[in-house]
Amino acid sequence: MSAPHEAFENQNARFWIDNGILFFEYKAHTALDLEVAMRVVADRIAFQNERLLPVICDTRGIVSIDKAARDYLAKSGSLLAKAVALIGGENVSMTMSTFYLEISKPSVPTRIFTVEQEALDYLLDFV
């Protein structure tokens, strides 16, 4: 009897809202460049419309990310996001997430997790 989730997807990502949290997931093998970054941000904020939400972002599908994409996400990627919990995978994924956090410096509170439950616990403060 679970309530229907609103959900959307485009070429590179899928996202849905559950319990006041926006779940955002990059599709497998995503090479994240500026074009892709702009598309997912545009679609996400269109989807959120007026809702300011905490975001859990599963980055494990990202295979590469260039500087233009990092900079765009750090600036505009946080629009309508109260806070972001990044879910990173093993080695490469974790290195890319850590670099994004430390060097590109996203403009809303952002943290990296490997366990989804811990990410959700972190976001509870922002719901």
């Binding site: 959900a7 899928r14 007026e50 500087k67 505009s76």
Partner: protein
């Protein structure tokens, strides 16, 4: 593991890449592989570092002046006849990362990687005499973080004859200590801004970006918040970012607002408030000035290439 051809190839690529970077060429990238291992994390990291350096520090060309700044710190140990540390100066503690309590009364050999135990007593005696007469010896010190500091050390005897001094100098910039005047002047000649200013301006830049939804504090207030004066703040920001703080703030807000108008149904008035404008007419005016048309004239059709998957989840 290092022997597999693929790993070998990635290591070679990384060496080449690092050499290119040392020469000032940041244009290369190492092809990624599908491996998710430790070597690949370094490949990814080297690539990203090159990209960052290319765009920021070396955007306008890189010259390697082939000099190292000589900021030397002397390190001195006073040793007793058993080579235990009787006293140590601040420089040595800083360079090696220890507290004085961790070093005092301990044999110096505990902090040195080189092993002299293979030497006979006679050989040791000879070595000591050689050193006391002015020979220099390279010793590898072990730092608190288990890294190595390799230093050319000299040894001399204090007047009483009982204690010896072991000393070396290392390039090490002590925090809290003002840079030496000559270095300061050298940088001054290049331009009026120092590294510390760059870091400060970066912090201001990051602050503005993180607070686009709020009204921008006055320059005076910002200067107070960042512990500087308004002249330095205004001048420094323009120097590093080629725009004024207010222009930068407004440019970023207008870009955000543009995206929000284009992508959402949020009423224009709300969008203007969400981006720190105090009134809609104000917002509309800035918007028109920047984009050449008013917010109302910007189409509000969403991208439209959504695949709506609501249906997958029927109630």
């Amino acid at each position: 593991m290092m022997k597999s051809p693929h790993n070998r190839q990635r290591m070679v690529s990384m060496h080449k890449m690092l050499f290119e970077m040392a020469r000032g060429n940041f244009n290369n990238q190492i092809p990624l592989s599908t491996c998710d291992d430790e070597i690949e994390t370094l490949v990814v990291l080297v690539n990203m570092v090159a990209e960052e350096l290319k765009e920021s520090a070396f955007h306008s060309g890189f010259v390697n002046p082939y000099i190292s700044h000589r900021m030397v710190t002397p390190a001195t140990f006073i040793l007793d006849e058993n080579h235990s540390i009787k006293d140590v100066n601040q420089g040595a503690l800083k360079i090696l990362g220890y507290d004085s309590l961790e070093m005092l009364s301990r044999p110096i050999k505990e902090f040195i990687m080189d092993d002299f135990s293979y030497m006979s007593d006679l050989e040791k005696k000879e070595l000591e005499e050689m050193l006391l007469s002015g020979e220099v010896i390279t010793l590898n010190f072990i730092t608190f973080k288990k890294l190595i500091v390799s230093a050319e050390c000299s040894v001399s005897r204090l007047s009483e004859g009982k204690f010896t001094v072991l000393s070396f100098v290392a390039p090490f910039l002590q925090l809290n200590e003002a840079p030496t005047e000559s270095l300061d002047l050298k940088i001054e000649r290049h331009n009026n801004f120092r590294k510390a200013d760059a870091r400060l301006m970066q912090r201001v830049y990051d602050y503005v970006l993180a607070n686009l939804g709020e009204p921008l504090p006055s320059v005076k207030e910002l200067a107070r918040q960042f512990g500087t004066n308004d002249f330095k703040l205004k001048d420094g920001f323009r120097h590093f970012f080629h725009t004024s703080i207010y222009q930068f703030y407004t440019e970023q807000r207008l870009k955000r607002a543009y995206l929000m108008i284009e992508q959402t149904d949020i009423p224009l008035k709300n969008i203007s408030f969400m981006n720190g404008f105090n009134s809609y007419p104000n917002f509309s005016k800035s918007f028109k000035k920047r984009f050449g048309f008013s917010p109302k004239e910007l189409g509000r059709n969403k991208t439209g290439d959504f695949l709506i998957v609501d249906d997958i989840n029927p109630s």
